[in-house]
């Protein structure tokens, strides 16, 4: 297995540039791989791509997801029961890439990567056409091994900022990240909320001063009103738990994909500036 050589600007950068050129904030849906099953994840991602998702976050299920709220925890449990592993998520990414979906970011915890070996994982991610990797429990201080290996494979390492990040940490994260910066909108775990935190805009602007990378906001975004407010100052929004809950509630329904397209369009409309 050899990794493709790193190209110029990656697919992630191009996706944000395209949205910006169209005067839009990018829409980044999140789903857990293998929930309700892998075949359905493929059709869900295709539906999201067709409904205008600019990037896709694919969650790798893990047994002990400390950063996730109950909705995403349940999705991970279902996926694990289906036998989904980091390896099958890489294979899924390769199939999706071959089918022409938006750029794919794997959202994962570190232990599955650690177990596979950061270099083995990074090579496989490159070969499978994964565009970015976000490891929720791997701060930049611990990311050295993985970061070097991903860079060699032309895969972005997306890092997170939180409301608790000090100015020093904002600068560290912005210096080390590639692809885009993921700003966590509030302290806490993943899960849909109704409001927009007051200090969010200031947080995004602080990151903006430290980097030229695109800045996406996630955690707690589920409503068009929130999307419109955040689109005024961010480059992308991540919608996770609202979508995962829709999948949970309609897993057996043949209408699932059309309901997902509808949610995607509802959230995409207010992103136009």
């Amino acid at each position: 297995m050899t990794a493709p050589p790193p190209e110029g600007p990656g697919r992630i950068a191009r996706a944000f540039a395209k949205a910006r050129a169209e005067e839009r904030c990018a829409l980044i849906p999140y789903v857990t791989a293998g929930d309700p099953d892998l075949a359905r994840t493929r059709s869900i991602v295709r539906a999201l791509g067709g409904a205008g998702a600019d990037l896709m976050e694919i969650g790798v299920p893990f047994s002990d997801p400390i950063a996730d709220g109950p909705v995403n925890q349940r999705a991970a449990e279902r996926a694990l029961r289906n036998g989904v592993t980091l390896r099958s998520c890489l294979d899924l990414a390769a199939e999706l890439r071959a089918g022409g979906v938006p750029p794919v970011v794997l959202f994962t915890y570190y232990n599955p990567i650690h177990r596979m070996g950061p270099e083995t994982f990074a090579r496989a991610a490159g070969v499978c056409g994964v565009d970015g990797v976000l490891v929720t429990d791997l701060p930049p201080e611990e990311a050295g091994d993985l970061h070097g290996a991903l860079r060699a494979s032309g895969v972005d390492l997306i890092l997170l900022l939180s409301p608790t990040s000090s100015q020093e940490r904002v600068e560290l994260v912005c210096r080390e990240a590639s692809g885009f910066i993921y700003v966590i909108s509030r302290t806490g775990v993943t899960g849909a909320r109704e409001d927009v935190p007051e200090d969010l805009e200031g947080q995004v602007r602080a990151a903006r001063r430290a980097t030229n990378l695109p800045i996406a906001v996630g955690f707690g975004i589920s409503q068009p009103g929130q999307a419109a407010a955040i689109a005024a100052y961010a480059d992308g929004i991540v919608v996770g738990s609202a979508l995962v809950r829709l999948i949970e509630e309609n897993a057996a329904s043949p209408d699932l994909e059309s309901r997902i397209e509808e949610l995607c369009r509802t959230l995409r409309a207010p992103l136009r500036r």
Partner: protein, 400 residues
């Protein structure tokens, strides 16, 4: 060199593998702990509470009946942490961390608990220092340790059942971390063992090392010499590190940690991380843990809720690598037999956790194999386990 290093590493183990939201709070905690342990006022206050509230120093008791049963001429001393307030060594750490929380201006503390001992010790100091308190406990453990659940509620703590995963200690830690990441501004997380992200493994060790410092003075006074071996059970590993640490430089003193062998070494039937585990990252730290080939954490089992955990403290992994400490395991049945034996021989009912250390001594310590002088850490008392052991023995304990 004193470990951990500036990144919280013990060789390849330890570190700080947490979401970004917890990085600044962990840095603040590390600074607060460093400044507190260099502050004579803080140390004096901690010492005051350890003595006048927790009942330290705990006795070092020469257990001659146990030694006679063992044979081989080995003298056995029990470090009586079971006699500390709340019935286990856990109070040493919760007093230290509660004082630290107060120093940092936190008004709320949270904790995980397995057997309930750390939960009770946290609820106790929360009452003492007027801090709001929530304790996360797996539903399976709440069933096993119903008495401790009520004790925590008596002390004014909210006990939050955790229904995720295996419903034991690991899941309680995950849920406590989720609480902390949400309420980090006013809340301090009193982690109960030498686990988690830096500085917890080093900070909890510091607060527990009072066990070994006392034991070292006591054995020198009683016997005029150092022991040949120290024995302690290892769940996360705080009572064992607490006993071992004052003896690390006494290289002739053997350090022996005893893990939970459960009902056998097949996956899901034990918590012997060094026997069946590999290197991984869980709940903030890189250490030995029980996982499958894809990096998901395996379920564990032990008759003792306090040892029923998939990972071991990173410093233990380091001590094992360097050969300074050795680790072994005993089965559920051996631990329960030792629970009975100590009660009958010495009139001391040990916690099932501590009974693992006693079981190892009885199984492998005969014929003088551990030398002439041994200290065993009796980390907790067994009142909490009486109902469970009675059930195993086919006796139902009913209140009139």
């Amino acid at each position: 060199m004193t470990l951990p290093d500036s990144r919280g590493r013990f060789g390849p183990y330890g570190g700080r593998f947490v979401p970004e939201t917890l990085m600044s709070p962990l840095q603040e905690l590390e600074e607060a702990w460093r400044s507190a342990r260099a502050d004579p006022g803080f140390l004096k206050e901690l010492d005051h509470y350890l003595k006048s509230y927790a009942g330290r120093p705990t006795p070092l008791y020469r257990a001659d009946n146990l030694a006679a049963r063992l044979g081989g001429g080995t003298r056995v001393y029990l470090k009586r942490e079971d006699l500390a307030h709340t019935g286990a060594h856990k109070i040493n750490n919760t007093l230290g961390q509660a004082l630290l929380a107060r120093r940092m201006g936190k008004t709320r503390v949270i904790a995980e608990t397995g057997a309930g001992q750390h939960g009770v010790a946290t609820a106790t100091v929360a009452a003492l220092f007027r801090l709001r308190c929530a304790i996360y406990m797996g539903e399976e453990d709440m069933r096993r340790q119903a008495l401790n659940v009520y004790r925590m509620r008596l002390l004014g703590a909210e006990v939050v059942p955790v229904a995720a995963g295996s419903r034991t200690l690991k899941d309680a830690i995950s849920e406590a971390m989720r609480d902390w990441v949400t309420h980090v501004k006013d809340t301090h997380y009193i982690l109960g063992s030498v686990l988690g992200a830096h500085p917890y493994p080093a900070m909890v060790r510091d607060f527990q090392s009072v066990i070994g410092h006392e034991a070292r003075l006591q054995i020198l006074e009683a016997e005029g010499r150092l022991p040949d071996a120290l024995i302690a059970c290892v769940g996360g590993g705080s009572n064992s590190i607490g006993l071992f640490h004052a003896f690390l430089d006494d290289t002739k003193v053997r350090l022996i940690g005893v893990e939970a062998g459960g009902t056998g070494l097949d996956p899901g039937r034990h918590a012997a991380r060094f026997a069946g585990g590999g290197l991984g990252v869980l709940q903030g730290t890189r250490t030995f843990l029980l996982q499958d080939t894809d990096g998901n954490i395996l379920p564990t089992h032990s008759v003792s809720a306090g040892l029923d955990y998939a990972a071991v403290g990173p410093e233990h992994a380091y001590l094992r690598d360097t050969g300074r400490a050795t680790y072994t395991h005993v089965s559920d049945d051996e631990a329960v037999a030792a629970f009975h034996m100590l009660a009958e021989l010495e009139g001391i009912i040990p916690a099932l956790e501590s009974a693992h250390a006693v079981a190892y001594l009885l199984r492998d310590g005969g014929g003088g194999t551990l030398g002439r002088l041994v200290i065993l850490n009796l980390s907790g008392r067994g009142d909490k386990d009486v109902e469970q052991v009675a059930g195993r023995d086919g006796t139902e304990v009913r209140r009139p």
